[in-house]
């Protein structure tokens, strides 16, 4: 997927740069050459690597949870649907954690506790939108989130290993 992305990006860059050098869509007051070099620097932005790395680790996390579910699920459909639901819940985990800290109700707190503890925070790996519009994302943040993803994936895989060992094949 990353290779396809790089190829599409490269082709698009060439087309847009050629159009800019021909004077199309250039910001008034800017030299076409300067405008073209701005386009090239944006398409070759190293921050894209951060976004790709985080997407990859997000996928690793979801795959490891899916694998965990597969060790006890008997239906493929159940497995797929669970993965989709976890993907959606994973983006809401941050919200659940905030509510867990703020909500006084014991029943709600218990439910939110389960979500907070079991579901991974996929939202923290979602920085593509920010990278695309040129907002800075520190390598330190990328490192922390990758560490978090590796840790959570290891937990899920360890649990999957334990369950699978008990399984009669």
């Amino acid at each position: 997927m990353s290779t396809v992305f790089a190829v599409v990006l490269g082709i698009t860059e060439r087309q847009v740069v050629a159009a800019a050098l021909a004077g199309e869509g250039v910001t008034p007051g800017l030299d076409p050459g300067q405008f073209a070099s701005q386009i090239s620097s944006q398409t070759r932005d190293p921050a894209l690597i951060k976004a790709l790395l985080l997407i990859f680790h997000q996928m690793v996390m979801i795959s490891s949870i899916t694998l965990l579910i597969a060790t006890f699920a008997t239906s493929v459909i159940f497995n797929v649907i669970s993965a989709i639901i976890i993907y959606i819940c994973g983006h809401l985990e941050g919200l659940a954690r905030e509510s867990w800290l703020g909500d006084p109700s014991i029943i709600k707190k218990t439910l939110l506790l389960l979500v907070t503890f079991l579901i991974p925070d996929l939202g923290s790996l979602d920085v593509v939108d920010h990278v695309v519009i040129g907002r800075p994302v520190a390598w330190a943040y990328v490192g922390k989130t990758i560490g978090y993803a590796v840790f959570y994936s290891s937990l899920a895989l360890a649990a999957a290993y334990c369950i699978f060992q008990e399984k009669e094949i």
């Binding site: 991974p120 943040y141 840790f151 334990c162 008990e166």
Partner: protein, 279 residues
């Protein structure tokens, strides 16, 4: 549990054994997971990486399916869809209230995307205001009033954009441009253009715009000082023709101010350029 000579006293098999194995993962691993999330969450809050909350109001506007997509991490995708399906089509059909709603929603979902603020403000202050200014359904007085109201809407919208993106020159420049072109207030444009030019990545024409706004608003002393500032602090990429133009504008300001010979600055700089400033 195995005791020598007595054999196994307790044998754990099946589900209880599994529970025993999973217990350390749950008791140790999951609290560590929550602790690891804390600094990540803190960073996201500090650097505004977490998007705005999806309130009931937003949910009502986007519909239930789109709300789920937003919650599921497809915020950028949803805002693009809203832009294409609602904003662009409303623009083509000239349904301005619907356009405004879509523009605000897209910007709310992606508050750090300058495109939504910039183009949204342009739709309101330029397209909607002009369309309403020639709308024959209104009386002449009402047309003027509605036109002004749309320009104000565009200005207010852009102001929100500036507040959400204070670290970029683009929206400050657009605000200056709006003040000049639509509000006919070149003096009001000056602070925004100056702010825009304070960013090193701002194009050179933003700097010269500041001087022109000073001239247009009759602030010739300020214009002269600004030309001097540009002259003394050249930026990378400044060409000789541009320097010559700054020199010419500086001399014009000195003439407007009727400065005495000893106070003049630009008149003394004429020989420093190869190009003729009068050209």
């Amino acid at each position: 549990l195995h005791f020598p000579g007595k054999g196994n006293l307790i044998v754990v098999t099946g589900i209880p054994r599994l529970a025993l194995r999973l217990l350390p993962i749950i008791l140790l691993g999951l609290p560590i997971k929550v602790l690891m999330e804390k600094p990540i969450h803190q960073y996201r809050l500090e650097h505004k990486l977490a998007g705005p909350r999806v309130s009931m109001d937003v949910r009502d506007k986007v519909g239930q399916n789109m709300a789920v997509a937003i919650l599921g991490g497809f915020r950028g995708f949803v805002s693009d869809i809203i832009w294409i399906m609602q904003v662009h089509i409303s623009w083509e059909n000239e349904i301005w209230y619907k356009l405004k709603e879509g523009v605000e929603l897209a910007a709310l979902l992606q508050p750090h995307s300058k495109f939504f603020w910039d183009t949204g403000a342009w739709h309101m202050a330029w397209n909607a205001s002009y369309a309403e200014s020639i709308n024959q359904r209104y009386t002449r007085e009402h047309r003027k009033k509605v036109e002004k109201a749309w320009i104000q809407e565009g200005r207010d919208f852009l102001q929100k954009g500036v507040e959400n993106n204070p670290d970029d020159y683009l929206l400050y420049h657009r605000m200056g441009w709006l003040y000049r072109e639509k509000m006919e207030d070149p003096a009001g444009a000056i602070p925004y253009l100056k702010k825009a030019y304070s960013f090193p990545e701002a194009p050179l024409f933003v700097g010269t715009m500041v001087g022109h706004m000073c001239v247009e608003s009759g602030k010739h002393r300020e214009a002269w000082e600004w030309w001097k500032h540009l002259w003394l602090n050249p930026r990378d990429g400044e060409s000789e023709p541009l320097r010559a133009r700054i020199l010419r504008w500086g001399i014009e300001s000195e003439e407007k101010l009727a400065l005495p010979e000893h106070e003049r600055f630009f008149s003394l700089q004429k020989n420093s350029l190869k190009l003729d400033p009068n050209r």
